[in-house]
Structures are given as structure tokens and as C-alpha cells.
Amino acid sequence: MKRKIERFNPFVYMIRSLFGMFIIVMISLISLILLSYFLSATPKRTIYYFFSGPFSSLYAFGNMINDAIPLIIGGLGVSLAFRAGNMNIGGEGQVYTGALIATIVAIALEGFGEIGVVLSIFLAMAASGLLAGFSGYLKAKWNTNELITTFLVSNAMILIVNYLISGPFVDPLTNLISTRQIPEVAELTLVLPPSNLNTSLVTALAAVFIIHALMYRSKTGFELRMYGNNNKFAMYAGISHTYYQIMPMFVSGAMYGLSGAMAIFGTYHAVIKEFSVGLGWNALAVALIARYRPFAVIPAALFFAYIDSGAHSAMLYSDVTFELSSIVQATVFFLVSSVTLQRLGLGKRRV
């Protein structure tokens, strides 16, 4: 009997799976173009500066990449947690907490030089990790919904950090609500002056490799994905439920903490009130767009940063407000949650 069996081609599959994402990005960019005609008196100018702005100078280009760094780091954590079937939506509070812990520890340990800096990063990761891990623990213990607990804990932490930086840790020498500046030893080197792009880029890229290796090239990652795919099967295969409810949450929190610390050491040099607003959510959106694959997190984060940067330049050189970027990002965020759109290139699922 003759039967044509073609081999499963992963490359073709990848291209086809990207098609849906391409459509989503196109829809959001087209909506941007249409909006410009409504919102702007000089729509062509707006569109021109929106798209070309990020590449108009080294300064703009460097800043765009710099903006992507915390999104990459945060997005990696979300991806890992989601692969284990856990959702961490407390990124906002975890970034903010990580930033504060990194800052005050770095200031306190100024006398220890580099060791103090490294320690402050680890403590920031541990603190944010514990915040998210706590939700994982509650889930393992009482089967609470981590979607709700991460969000609630995060909101509480935002208020607590706000209090701490406007009270106990406030810098009396500035007019901002902000902590003191971190010691010079903790400031990361700029790599593309005059832009803010700094060596935290190396951390982000290293994190991509590490998280990828953890997820796809280790036994832990294998167990984690099996647990996320089907926890009954995981139980049958002797995979610990408790561990994979807590560990991935801890790691995702720690990654958020790291992204907060990197933002401070690389760019802000002090915790300014609400400096990180939106970072947690955007990292979540980045993970969604990347569909929880570590290497895809990089282009997804760059895309988000590009939109932000484009809106900045359009705001400077034309007559629109910065909210334009939020609209585009919101459109992507909304569309990306549609499984149908995402699977557009893959054809119908077998019934």
C-alpha cells in the first residue's frame, strides 16, 4: 500500500506558528496609523517620527534597548512560572520591592565594595522571590488561587514601598519622593553613551540562556513542563506537586526582583516613587507575546520598547501624547490573548 508520509518539519512549523503573531502586530500597528489620523493634525509627521524616531539617534536607540532589559528579565520569570501552570501577576509589586531592597542594601553595604553590590542583588531577588513564592505556598497548602494572591500581595507591597521611600528612607536633599542615590560602585557602566544603555544588558542576555537551559535542558525543567501540561500525569510520573507549585513562583518573583535591581543600578540610581509603574504588566504581556519561550522574549521586549520609544519621539516632534504607545500596547495585549489569532497559521485543531 502506498502512503505518503511527510516528515514533521520543525522549521516550517515555527514559521507557521509565527504567522498569527505577525497578524497581531500588524493589526496593532495599523490601528496606530488610523489613530494618528484622528488624533493628530499632522498625521504623516506623527507616523514618520513614531516609526523612525527610535533609530534617529544613538541616544534614542540605546534608550530603546535599555527599556527592553527589565522587560526581558521579568518576562523570563513569567514564562517559567506559566510553563509550570502558575500565573504570577504580581510583577508590579515585586519589581518595586526588588528595587527598594537592592537600593537600601547597596547603600548599607557600601563599605564592602563589589561584594556588597552582588549581595544586594541576591537579597533583592530573594525578597521578591519570597513574595511570589508565598503565593505558591498558599496554593500548595490550601489551594488558593495564585492569580488573586500574587495580585493582592503585590498591591500591598506597592503601598508599603511608597511609605518606606517617602518616610524612613527618603532622601531629604531632593525634592522628589526618592531614596538616596546608590553608591558609585553599584552603578553599572554605560555602553552606548549618551544613552542610558548599560551593562545590565549582559545580565538580561545571560538570563535568557540560563532560563532556557533550565526549562529545556534540565530534568527540573522537564518535570516543570510536564507538571504544567498535566498535573495528574505529573503525579503519576512521581513529580512533586508542592515543589512545582512553589519553585516556579519563587523564580518568577526573583526575576522580577532582578529586573527592579537592574533598573536601579543601571538607569535610575535611586528608587523614585512609582518609577516602575507598568513594568510588571508589560513584562507579563511580553511573556504572552513570546508564548513563554525564553528566546522569543527578546524580540517581544524589543517590540514593546520600540512602541514606547516611538511614542516618545512622536510626542517630541509632533502633536500627540505619550498615551499613543499605551493604546498600541493595549491592543497587542488584548489580541495576544486570543488563541484563535495566535494559531492562525497552524490550521484547525483536530477535533
Partner: protein, 512 residues
């Protein structure tokens, strides 16, 4: 001449797996006939019928209804053409009444707005009378038995004036009495001119009910025959492509020490006095197949759950050699220990549908493929490929396991578990839903294992399987073991003789 339905050269390839499910398939259906569509799992029967019912699009071919070429895009279009399908898994709203379920989507309303329950009930009651069904229009569906729910599904179709009725393995979950009444109903429908297509792989039912049988194999239509002109062995031969062979067992060589033992294992349900498992004692030795049989709901399910560690014991203990696996109020650690286990729920417990074949293959022996740092991709690929070859699984290592047919998924699970056997394997409903060829393959494997000294604990509600494989046999009824048969008694046992024990009306050989 007057075919109600013709399918010509229908071809369908599943894009994701590049698997040809139907290749130039032709099918004709006469008015008022019962046609069996037979074939092994994965032969393409269900795909062909789903195409006809508009559930999946096809690549090439023509469908002609009443002499007119039709393009059936979805089930609603199919129903408009008079085609209806009853799925293996019912699609009913449990909280609704029979009448509400039947009319759902086509309700009789007052002023085009309000559900008129009186008229609807009357219409459905009339329909039930017309077809001599045994259900009542006002009964809640949740309270019906499986056979009665199936009647509701059939009624749903009749209410929509269906002339071509497709039934997907309708007898799979029915009792013998329910099957008898289903067949009586089908014969009545046939007399009224309804054409019926039965998807099945039970050969004796094909002979009993159908006028013609069409047999598919590996996506192709092999042939259609008048049922009265062919016998059962011919049908099975065509279905499998080769003849059946009998399983040879070597003389029993039982080990001296028990491998697995359960001592007075009891499982209580909260707030109830009748235990789900009552003082169960089992000793499994090496080199034997110990069968555990029972009608569903009599304790086999709980036995599987406690062995899986999904359910804690209320009392008793389980040991593996000298190692205590669980005792009072504990869950068994069989899974952490990784004892080979083929669970009855192969789709949700035995495999991870979203993972690839190779990921499923290594899941229970993963420590062999992950050195302290990294992963041995080559070793995984070779391991999976060789198992795929040894077990004749129709799959590639990187394919998602959810795209395989049920029989092939079960082979993946078996391959994985058999591969890591030391001296014991636990199998539950190991051939449930498999076609003749796959079932025979599985049975041979199990006997092979037993011949090499492995202890096999075989939980099954399939009496043919239990009787042809077991060396010793335990019968479960209402949570207790009511009978024990040894190797000298089993060869003389028949299914009928087991009846009273299964129903808990007799006991035997319990003094061991």
C-alpha cells in the same frame, strides 16, 4: 440505484501530523439500511463520519446526498440535509430535562420568545411513544443511565427529522440489556426508512445488526460486503490484515516470595458506613498474572486509585517486597518509587497530550536522560525511536502524542512502562477501547512478561481478557473480594459461571 448518500474519493490529511486519515474513500448508503463501518483504531472511520457531519473539512472528494452534490460546512448544514450523529461521548445538559435537551436549539416557543414547556414536553413525549423508547420527557438527564442518555441523543436527532443517523461506537459503554434494546430501536428506525451508519469494531455486533459492512484499514476502504455473506473470522481477517494467533503460555513458575502485598486494605468514604474497599488482601507473586475482575463501581477503580497513590488508605498496608509503601491514612508511594503502572485513564493520567511522544516516553524514567547538567537529546531520540519500532507505533518522536489514535497512545504507555520493569507491573483496563489487533498485541506482551518471571496485577472489567490471561483470579463485588480461582480452575471457567460472583450472590475459595 437509489442511494441516499454517496461519498466519492474522499481524502483527508491532518495538517499538523501530515497523517493521511482518509485516502480516496468511497461509501454508498441505501435507504433504510443499517451499515456497519468497521476497522481498527486509527483506520479512519471516525474521521470519515466527522467529514460527513461537517465537523472537519476534507481535502478532496465529493459528497452526494439524494443525488445532489452537497458542500457540508458544519453540523447545522448536515442536520438540514437530514444527517445526524450521536457521538461516543454524549453532549447533554445534565441539569435539563429530557424534553429540554431534545428540543434545545429548536424549541417550540410562545410568541417567539418564551419556552413553552407544556408543548415541548408533549411533542417529545409523542416522539418517545412513536419510537417505543423507555424514557420520560420530564425526567432530568442527570438521573438517567448511560443507555437512557443515548436514547436522548438519538431522540435529539429524530426530533430534527434525521434520515441518515450516524452512531459512533454506540455500544462501547452499554450493558448487555441496553445493547439489546438499542438494537431493537435501530431496527424500528430502519423500518421507518432511516438509514443508519454504525461505527464499530465489535465483530459479533456487526453480524447481529447490520445489513452491510464496510471495512476500513489504514485510511483506505478495503471493501463492502453483505453481512449475511461473510462470517466473523472473515471480517476480523480483513480488519486486521492477518489472521489471529493464539497466545501460548509457558507452565506456571511462581516465585516463592510475594512481590506486592495488600493487607486488610480498607477505604472508607466520609460520612458513610459502607466502605468502598473492604478488608482487601492480595498477594502477587512473580511469574503469575493475577486478575482482578469486577463490574464497574464495585471497587476496582478504588483499588487502582490507592495503588496510584491518589487515594489514602483508611486502614491496612501495602508492601513491595519488604518496603512499606503505605499504611493507615497514607497515600501509597508507588509513583515516587516508579513501579511500572498502566493506568486505565490513558489520556489524562497515563500521558500528557500536550507533550511530544518522546517526552511521554521518558517521563517515568527521566533520570536516565538527564546527567547532572544538561540533557542527552540523542539518547532520548534513539530510545524513543527504538521503542516506536519495537512496538510498531505509528508516530514520530517529535509528534505531539495527542495527535495519535487511542491504540497508539496506549502502546506508547505500555512501551514506556514495560521498558522499566524489574519484577512487577500493574495494568488497569489495559485493552479498553483498543481494536482486535492492538489488544492481541498487548495480551501477547503481558504473557511474554509473565513467562520471564514478572508479576502482573491485571485489573479489568473485560471478562474475556481476564479469563484468557489470568493464572489466578479475584472477583470484586461491592468493595470486597468475593471469589478466588486458582490456575487449575480457570481453564474450565466460562464467563457465564462468573455471573453470580460478580453480582455478589456467591462466594468461593476465600479461606486462603
Amino acid at each position: 440505484m437509489s442511494h441516499v448518500l454517496e461519498m466519492i474519493d474522499v481524502t483527508k490529511m491532518y495538517q499538523e501530523t501530515q497523517r493521511i486519515a482518509n485516502h480516496k474513500v468511497n461509501l454508498e448508503l441505501n435507504r433504510g439500511e443499517i451499515l456497519s463501518l468497521a476497522g481498527e483504531n486509527g483506520a479512519g472511520k471516525t474521521t470519515l463520519m466527522k467529514i460527513l457531519y461537517g465537523l472537519i473539512p476534507f481535502d478532496e472528494g465529493t459528497i452526494i446526498i439524494d443525488g445532489k452534490k452537497q458542500n457540508i460546512k458544519n453540523p447545522i448544514a448536515a442536520q438540514r440535509l437530514g444527517i445526524g450523529m450521536v457521538h461516543q461521548h454524549f453532549m447533554l445538559v445534565d441539569e435539563f430535562s429530557v424534553a429540554q435537551n431534545v428540543v434545545l436549539g429548536n424549541e417550540i416557543t410562545t410568541k417567539g420568545l418564551f419556552y413553552d414547556s407544556k408543548k415541548n414536553n408533549k411533542r417529545v413525549a409523542q416522539l418517545i411513544d412513536e419510537h417505543n423508547f423507555t424514557i420520560h420527557a420530564e425526567d432530568k438527564v442527570a438521573r438517567l443511565s448511560v443507555g437512557e442518555k443515548q436514547q436522548v441523543e438519538i431522540l435529539k436527532m429524530l426530533y430534527r427529522d434525521i434520515r441518515i443517523l450516524i452512531l459512533d461506537e454506540p455500544t462501547a459503554t452499554l450493558t448487555i440489556q441496553e445493547i439489546t434494546s438499542l438494537f431493537a430501536n435501530l431496527r424500528r428506525l430502519k423500518k421507518r426508512g432511516v438509514s443508519i451508519i454504525l461505527i464499530t469494531h465489535k465483530i459479533h455486533e456487526i453480524k447481529e445488526i447490520s445489513d452491510r459492512v464496510c471495512i476500513m484499514r489504514a485510511g483506505e476502504m478495503i471493501g463492502c460486503y453483505e453481512t449475511r455473506n461473510v462470517d466473523e473470522s472473515f471480517i476480523s481477517k480483513i480488519m486486521m490484515g492477518d489472521m489471529r494467533t493464539k497466545i501460548e503460555k509457558s507452565p506456571l513458575k511462581r516465585s516463592r516470595e510475594a512481590i506486592l502485598s495488600l493487607k486488610s486494605v480498607t477505604v472508607m468514604r466520609r460520612h458513610q458506613t459502607q466502605p468502598l474497599l473492604d478488608d482487601i488482601n492480595i498477594e502477587l507473586f512473580g511469574g503469575e498474572i493475577l486478575g482482578c475482575a469486577g463490574i464497574s463501581g464495585n471497587g476496582l477503580g478504588q483499588l487502582e486509585s490507592i495503588l496510584l497513590g491518589a487515594l489514602p488508605l483508611s486502614k491496612g498496608e501495602i508492601t513491595y517486597h519488604d518496603e512499606l509503601l503505605s499504611t493507615t491514612h497514607q497515600r501509597a508511594t508507588t509513583r515516587k518509587l516508579g513501579l511500572p503502572f498502566v493506568p486505565s485513564d490513558r489520556l489524562y493520567i497515563g500521558s500528557s497530550l500536550e507533550a511530544t511522544v518522546s517526552e511521554n516516553m521518558i517521563a517515568t524514567s527521566r533520570e536516565n536522560f538527564f546527567p547532572p547538567f544538561g540533557i542527552q537529546k540523542k539518547k532520548i531520540y534513539q530510545h524513543t525511536s527504538s521503542l516506536i519500532k519495537d512496538y510498531d507505533i505509528k508516530a514520530t518522536p517529535h509528534q505531539l502524542i495527542g495527535t495519535l489514535s487511542g491504540g497508539n497512545i496506549q502502546k506508547v504507555i505500555l512501551a514506556r512502562e514495560i521498558e522499566k520493569i524489574k519484577d512487577l507491573i500493574i495494568c488497569s483496563e489495559v485493552t479498553w477501547g483498543l481494536d482486535v489487533g492492538s489488544a492481541l498485541f498487548v495480551h501477547k506482551k503481558i504473557v511474554e512478561l509473565r513467562n520471564t518471571g514478572v508479576g502482573v496485577l491485571l485489573l479489568s472489567s473485560n471478562l474475556d481478557e481476564i479469563l484468557s490471561l489470568s493464572d489466578r483470579l479475584l472477583i470484586f463485588s461491592r468493595g470486597s473480594i468475593v471469589a478466588h480461582f486458582n490456575e487449575t480452575e480457570i481453564p474450565h471457567l466460562t464467563k457465564e459461571q462468573l455471573g453470580p460472583y460478580l453480582l455478589g450472590k456467591a462466594t468461593k475459595g476465600l479461606n486462603r
